[in-house]
């Protein structure tokens, strides 16, 4: 079952070219839907247990996968947002076969990242998700995509390769027989070597997270991607750095993480605030969203780095649901572009003609700026609550970013959707048929888990507890 869940999308992405052109959207939708169903089914049976088989015995590389609570939550969110992206791509992009194939290919990479319990396997999925992202940018991007593409790839690979060396070193110095996480945990590396290996690992994760100063690829990546926002949804899902830190660093480099905790927390808090500050001066919705996402990722990082149970749960919760509402906001920006032909935040008066679109966008933004009752609040509140116990000042500093978020989001919203519609502007139509589903479903999720966060927290909590128990008492 777990292999079905992971590999169904990539299988579909290859088969899609055999399907007649007019059936491709339906085919991709069915595949994405089936994957989501597989995820929900896994949830109903309480996660999928570990599966392990030797992949390259001579090297000690195993194919070990598992879907426990945290993996499952992120996996289901990925499957859900992929389905939404597939529906919107099928509707918006002419002749979408290639795009749909890339979306599905990327889904497998992401699900594999969450499922992998072997470091080399993790690395393989980590890089595999990169290829479709690059192709999306290359095929569907805007004029300056080449620079954005190279920046993105160079940053990503720079980190990944340092991580690869760390992975090799981890097995070598620890004396573990394989790269499987359980074996590596049983053969830990200690002392200063651990710190060095952690830094290698951190390089990769900080790029993906992204953490200041390794974030520069992110705004260009989003700004140069296709207007529809479909590629951006996948880009949002690709911020797996926090997950990698949680899954591998906490158990493999506990001492190093503890030692570097003040610096890392400081960087994360600074990222949150700095990105919110920059977001304030953006005049393009996509860049604004990119910086808003970056600011949220700073908070997620703060949660993970504080090594506090509450904060960590909050971090993972925020990571999961940030994907939902930020992804949906990217799609909403795509819809805005479709209607007024611009992504500028100075359009003005959209509300008068497209009330539902504006309303839904606003509610999604409320989720993003952590208004209570929506999913964003639970995550951000838990993070700040937990981080406060470790470092009150940094928690305060990061908390300022939520105020800044309200400022940048509402300012831009006001100049786009309220104000006066310029004279002679095109007539804007409101949501039509599937648009309702595309924005409505993520919004429903954000409201549901904002009001009733129990099921999601129940997925995350036991795993975080188990993971933290390895760290010893002093936390």
């Amino acid at each position: 079952m777990i292999h079905f869940f992971i590999f169904l999308p990539v299988l579909a992405s290859l088969l899609i070219f055999l399907v007649p052109v007019r059936w491709r959207e339906e085919f991709a939708g069915a595949a994405a839907g089936l994957t989501l169903a597989g995820g929900l089914w896994s949830w109903s049976v309480g996660g999928l247990s570990a599966y392990r088989i030797d992949w390259i015995p001579a090297l000690g590389v195993t194919y070990s996968v598992q879907m426990d609570g945290v993996s499952l939550l992120l996996g289901i969110v990925t499957a859900f947002m992929t389905l939404i992206a597939v529906i919107y791509a099928g509707k918006r992009i002419p002749n979408p076969g290639t795009m749909l194939s890339l979306i599905l290919m990327m889904e497998t990479g992401l699900l594999g990242i969450y499922a992998a319990r072997d470091l080399v396997l993790f690395y393989v999925f980590f890089e595999d998700a990169l290829i479709p992202a690059l192709l999306m940018l290359a095929i569907y991007g805007k004029t300056h995509r080449m620079a954005a593409l190279i920046k993105f790839a160079a940053y990503t690979l720079f980190g990944s390769l340092l991580m690869l060396i760390s992975i090799i070193a981890l097995k070598y110095y620890g004396g573990s027989p394989t790269f499987a996480l359980s074996d590596l945990q049983a053969n830990p590396v200690t002392g200063p070597v651990q710190t060095w290996l952690f830094l290698g690992f951190l390089a990769a994760m900080a790029v993906k997270l992204p953490l200041f100063p390794l974030h520069a690829w992110l705004p260009d990546f989003h700004a140069q991607n296709h207007d529809s926002g479909v590629a951006d949804v996948m880009g949002t899902l690709y911020k797996v750095g926090a997950y990698g830190l949680f899954r591998f660093s906490v158990v493999l480099f506990p001492d190093a993480m503890l030692e570097l905790r003040p610096i890392l927390m400081g960087l994360a808090a600074f990222t949150a605030l700095y990105a919110a500050w920059i977001a304030f001066s953006q005049s393009d919705w996509k860049r604004l969203l990119a910086y808003a996402g970056l600011s949220h990722m700073g908070l997620v990082g703060l949660g993970i780095f504080s090594l506090n149970e509450t904060a960590m749960i909050g971090g993972l919760f925020l990571l999961a649901f940030q994907n939902v509402y930020t992804g949906a906001l990217f799609l909403a920006a795509g819809m805005l572009q479709e209607r007024v032909g611009s992504l500028s935040t100075k359009v003005g008066g959209v509300m008068t003609q497209a009330g539902v679109l504006s309303g839904m966008t606003m509610t999604l933004w409320f989720a993003s700026i952590a208004v209570p009752g929506l999913a964003g609040f639970i995550g951000e509140f838990s993070i700040l609550l937990g981080a406060y116990q470790i470092s009150p000042w940094l928690a305060f500093l990061a908390g300022l970013s939520t105020i800044a978020a309200a400022a940048y989001a509402l300012t831009a919203y006001q100049t786009t959707y309220w104000q006066v519609r310029p004279a002679g502007a095109v007539l804007v139509h409101d949501l039509r048929d599937l648009d309702w589903l595309i924005l409505g479903a993520p919004l429903a999720v954000a409201i549901f888990f904002g009001v009733y966060s129990g099921p999601a927290l129940a997925l995350v909590q036991p795993v975080v507890r188990a993971w933290m128990s390895g760290l010893g008492g002093g936390l």
Binding site: I56, D128, A138, A154
Partner: protein, 484 residues
């Protein structure tokens, strides 16, 4: 009393793969007078396939001939098979591009097979003289092949190759002489025995000899700063020739290095630290220079230099980990480089290659070729799931475990630069473009077959590395690298 007549230890079985190729070369020379070139090429390909079959039949038998001067152990056989794969791909591509490249005469096949014979002799060599003979047979044929086209560019390229190659050979021969002077033997086993406890008469002589050997090999595999002939040669020679020289010849030179440094001279001091410096220089120079290329052919040439650096990392490792790593990487390197050159051969209109900007929108004109080239470039850049990733990973691991941490980090940084220059053409191909096509419009079946072989190879070997790695992973076959 007359001294007893001692017959040399000639046994035919381990010689068979080499003899078959040699017979193929002779047949190609003679048949060339009577048959058209395509028939001769077919004969050559049959000879290569037969040679491959004979190699497979020798697997695990550990035979040797001429009192160990020729080893048909698993190391030789696996390297030999890689050489044959590269040669077969060369011949397949030559079916299509030979006419355009003004190479369409049977002498090309004959010389190619002589070169292959030389490369096989290197892979099978058990002492320095055998190795040298193989190297010279290979190099001499190579010089001729490079100039066979008769254009100014190709003559210039061949001339550079010849002059620098001859200097390299001279240094190599001098090194062999010094090693002989220090150890009193030319066989790998003898040198290893003499140097195992380092009770050599003259360590200084030995070290200088080893370094000269390293220098000589450095010319052949294109380690910086001995790489300067490479871009001119690969860029100036016909594409088919570039394909052959950058894969088969490089594999053979690495086979020689593996035998000499991994086996015979493993315990000799100093060469490893010098090699370390050379590798660092190669990684930096090769990768940086490749960043600034505008012609795809020259890009591939610098990429070949950069890959020399990655390949040589495996040489630094302990033979039990470095040997299989190098072999696997060489196989993958051959498949992906040959396939990339093959796509170039199929699409270019003239032998000058085409510029990277011309690749814009290739995906919409030749979807299959574009995807194939993208796979090759992705693999060359070391992105999983393609085999290039595993190759790089193995090389990094070998060097890392041997304690070359700093060098491994330099290599990783080099890979980032590599990603950028492979990515640009790879991504340009997928960008929509409205200008008219600048490449050859048709399909070329044999070339496509070679490309398919390469692409399927790197994909399968990437997902299931064990298919090839499992064959050579046994450490036991690498501890007897020097023969016994």
């Amino acid at each position: 009393m007359n001294p007893a007549l001692v017959f040399p230890d000639v046994s035919l079985a381990p010689l068979l793969p080499i003899l078959i190729t040699l017979l193929g070369a002779i047949a190609a020379t003679l048949l060339g007078f009577y048959l058209p070139r395509r028939a001769v090429t077919l004969v050559s390909m049959v000879a290569l396939v037969l040679s491959g079959i004979s190699m497979a039949s020798l697997w695990n038998r550990g035979l040797s001939a001429f009192s160990g001067s020729l080893q048909a152990d698993n190391v030789a056989l696996s390297l030999g098979l890689i050489i044959l794969i590269g040669s077969l791909m060369t011949l397949l591509v030559s079916f299509d591009s030979a006419v355009r490249a003004h190479l369409s005469f049977p002498e090309f096949d004959a010389l190619l097979l002589y070169a292959v014979t030389g490369t096989l002799i290197i892979a099978f060599s058990g002492d320095l003289v055998t190795m040298l003979i193989g190297l010279e047979v290979m190099s001499l044929s190579g010089y001729v092949i490079a100039t066979l086209q008769g254009s100014r560019r190709s003559e210039e390229a061949g001339m550079k190759y010849f002059l620098l190659g001859a200097v390299g050979s001279a240094i190599l021969i001098y090194g062999i002489a010094l090693v002989y002077g220090a150890t009193g033997t030319l066989s790998y086993v003898g040198i290893r025995d003499a140097t195992s406890g380092l009770q050599v008469q003259n360590v200084g002589l030995l070290v200088v000899g080893a370094l000269m050997l390293l220098c000589g090999f450095g010319f052949k595999v294109a380690l910086a700063p001995f790489h300067q002939w490479t871009p001119d040669l690969y860029g100036g020679a016909p594409t088919t020739v570039g394909l052959f020289l950058s894969t088969v010849v490089k594999v053979a030179a690495f086979a020689g290095m593996l035998r000499v440094f991994g086996g015979a001279m493993q315990n000799v001091p100093a060469w490893a630290s010098v090699l370390q410096v050379l590798i660092a220089a190669t990684l930096v120079i090769g990768n940086l220079a490749a960043l600034f290329q505008t012609n795809f052919k020259r890009l591939m040439a610098y990429s070949a230099v950069a890959h020399t650096g990655f390949l040589a990392l495996a040489l630094l490792g302990n033979p039990a980990t470095g040997g299989p790593a190098l072999t696997y990487y060489l196989l993958v390197y051959t498949l992906m480089t040959a396939a990339a050159f093959a796509v170039l051969g199929a699409l270019q209109r003239s032998e000058e290659g085409f510029s990277i900007d011309d690749m814009r929108g290739l995906f919409y004109r030749h979807p299959a070729y574009a995807v194939a080239l993208a796979v090759c470039l992705g693999s060359l850049a070391g992105l999983p799931p393609f085999a290039g990733f595993m190759g790089k990973y193995l090389a990094f691991q070998a060097a890392f475990q041997a304690g070359y941490v700093g060098l491994t980090v330099i290599a990783a940084m080099g890979s980032v630069a590599a990603l950028i220059y492979y990515l640009r053409p790879a991504m340009l191909m997928f960008m929509p473009d409205r200008t008219p096509a600048r490449e050859f419009p048709g399909e070329r079946t044999p070339t496509t077959a070679a490309i398919a072989l390469g692409v399927v190879g790197v994909t399968v070997l990437g997902v299931l590395p064990n298919v090839a790695y499992g064959l050579v992973a046994n450490p036991a076959i690498w501890t007897i690298l020097a023969g016994r």
